[in-house]
Amino acid sequence: MSARDNILERLRQRADGPLTAPQSDFSVVTGRGWSQADRLERFERLITSVHGEVVHVAQANWTAELVELLHAKGIRRLALGREHPVAAEARAALDGKDVALLDADRDIETWQHEQFHETDAGLTSTRGAIAETGSLWLWPTPDEPRLLSLVPPIHIAVLDANSIEDTFFDVIETHGWAGGMPTNALLISGPSKTADIEQTLAYGVHGPRELVVLVRHAKEHS
């Protein structure tokens, strides 16, 4: 018999007999009933508490704010997608500006060294966010691959204010995640960090040192 068969056999022939599976009540992880304002406030409070930066921008001129942000942070080489509206609009706005645009939709084998060593920042869209924990959720795509939010030292994520939901559980249920998971699904809550040296927090140990969330508001943010 194979290891598989042996293990399953032992589990099935359990000495103390079959176990009864209890039902689960998930109400403790849902039903927060927060307003959109509550969600935004909570999201911002939590993600900034772990060193994330939040910049509120109007939907109409978000790319102008992006240009300013790149300038302020001295970002000269930005990796980004092509097809997603976030990438497309950013490319349009950065056309002719003093920022090199690196195509993220290339096989990593062709530009690994460039991505690791010669990329100042990665720009990605997000699918939404979670108010309870201050988390972004991303499903990387061929257009915006998974390393784009990890390898460059700065990650700029674009989030629509109205796409923040209450809890992780709500996101999974509302969007039917169980019906079809992507290759990689991610929650990102702040920049990379460690406390492995005597409990002292340090950022950017492996992933980005900085995470900037551009929160886009359909109307002027007050």
Binding site: L11, D25, R146, A185
Partner: protein, 489 residues
């Protein structure tokens, strides 16, 4: 603590290792400070939660997963395979090492980069790979430091928690040539630079798994650093290794467990990354490994599974809160236990993996203060399980643990039989306590270990039994009638 020379610890030497740790002010201070901080952080982060309800749900989810374990493992396997993940099974650590080595050899791998995986520690994977000429490098900062220092982790979540900043600075200086410094950002940046090159050069990435979701064939990894994401996305091959108990039924089972895990472990609302992997790189995708393997390891777990009481051990989600709150762990540190999993969870888990002969001193290394059970996010009754293992060790359990009965000695049995006889013969008991009082002066002032640190208690001249009798007689004279509520005395 020298930075050179391999340090080995074994549970057989618990007493000696405890003695050494207790006598090391640096170790004592490092652990005390770290554990105080972790306890405070956990308390704060749970303050706005209905913690009891959440723990109830966490325990319930884990119990449901265990109740359906064989079916869920098959479902996990089928869904992983449908997603393109190759699934392997191993009865024990050696078998798992072999499976992993063979995958590496198939790819002619020379360099492996590792994300944090306690199961890989449990099976001594690094040593196994090195024997086969494959270099395995740890990438979690704490694990990396511990590996540089030729040690094993002293905590399951914070592997280098036994080291302070100066010690780490020395280790990095000696092993990697960095400047001596107390600047944590500098050391972190140096490790980042060193490890980035290794990520790019690695042929295979090996990680653990926090939750494996049967419903979707998804492997979930919880981390702050990003090394887990690097390990699972940069090298061309990813091998995930996990114990068979880590499976959960549904994707919706994950959020409560994740909430409990991060809060219990480090007092965080959430970790920086929650990484869910459901397949290798698909056609048209531009990064990620082209092969993903899942290795399911038993190593005694299916044996624990047989017993209704011991089964609770398998609910564990490896948060480490039990060690953070353990007054024994806090004082002796993780290495003293000499096991992959130290502290309370280790003391109820390792006897199944190593046998009670090897781990004989672990179940008794607890004052049964209950702090571990109080904070366990999935409500494992750890103190009760410690007592159960003590029973197994002295041969009064069900014989379901390897090495059962190994601590049963004639001398100790005789002592407990004497106690039993006295405590079931009230007249003898009463005269015994009376004699102890009368012979007070003869009680030795040195009672072995107790009196090295404390003054021995002195038996009272008159026992409570006798005092009550006198008291009743006085009350009777005073005209208070207490009828005798005893039918048998």
């Amino acid at each position: 603590m020298s930075a050179s020379g391999v340090q080995t610890y074994t549970p057989r030497e618990f007493h000696r290792q405890a003695h050494d740790a207790l006598g090391n002010p640096q170790i004592r201070a490092n652990f005390r400070r770290a554990m105080d901080g972790l306890m405070a952080k956990r308390r704060d982060v749970f303050s706005d939660w209905d913690l009891e309800t959440l723990r109830e749900l966490g325990a319930n989810i884990r119990l449901r997963a265990l109740a359906k374990l064989p079916d869920l493992l098959e479902q996990l396997e089928a869904n992983c395979q449908a997603n393109g993940i190759q699934v392997h099974w191993a009865e024990n650590g050696d078998e798992a090492c072999r499976v992993i080595r063979e995958i590496c050899e198939r790819h002619e791998a020379k360099a492996v980069i590792k994300g944090k995986s306690m199961v890989s520690e449990e099976m001594h994977l690094n040593a196994h790979l090195e024997e086969a000429g494959i270099e395995a490098l740890e990438s979690d900062l704490g694990e990396y430091l511990v590996q540089l220092n030729e040690q094993t982790p002293s905590h399951i979540i914070m592997p280098a928690i036994h080291l302070n900043t100066d010690e780490i600075s020395d280790i990095m200086h000696e092993k990697t040539g960095t400047e001596r410094t107390r600047d944590v950002d500098y050391m972190t940046a140096a490790a980042r630079a060193q490890l980035r090159e290794r990520f790019m050069a690695a042929d295979v990435g090996i990680s653990g798994v926090n939750f494996a979701v049967a419903e979707t064939g998804t492997l979930c990894l919880v981390e702050n650093e990003g090394n887990g994401r690097m390990t699972t996305a940069v090298p061309p091959v990813h091998i995930a290794v996990t114990g068979i108990e880590k499976v959960v039924e549904h994707l919706r089972d994950v959020p409560p467990l994740y909430a409990l895990l991060t809060r219990s472990a480090t007092g965080q609302h959430v970790t920086t990354y929650f990484n869910m992997i459901s397949s290798p790189r698909k056609e048209g995708e531009h990064d990620g490994p082209s092969e993903v393997h899942l290795v399911l390891v038993d190593s005694g777990r299916s044996n624990i599974y047989q017993d209704d009481e011991l089964l609770d051990t398998l609910r564990c989600i490896r948060c480490g809160a039990c060690m953070n709150h353990c007054p024994v762990y806090t004082r002796v540190g993780g290495h003293t236990y000499g096991t992959t999993y130290p502290g309370p969870i280790g003391s109820i888990l390792m006897p199944h993996m190593m046998g009670l002969e090897e781990t004989r001193d672990l179940p008794s290394a607890s004052s049964l203060c209950g702090a571990c059970g109080e904070v366990c996010p999935v409500k494992i009754p750890i103190p009760d399980l410690l007592v159960r293992l003590r029973r197994e060790a002295v041969g009064e359990g069900r014989g379901n643990v390897p090495g059962a009965g190994v601590k049963r000695t004639k001398k100790e049995v005789a002592a407990w039989k004497t106690y039993q006889w006295l405590a079931t013969h009230p007249a003898a008991w009463r005269s015994g306590t009376a004699i102890a009082g009368k012979l007070q002066a003869l009680v030795p002032s040195k009672l072995g270990p107790w009196t090295e640190h404390r003054t021995a208690p002195r038996p009272a001249k008159v026992s409570l039994h006798a005092l009550v009798k006198q008291h009743k007689a006085k009350r009777h004279q005073a005209g208070k009638s207490d009828d005798d509520g005893e039918k048998r005395s």
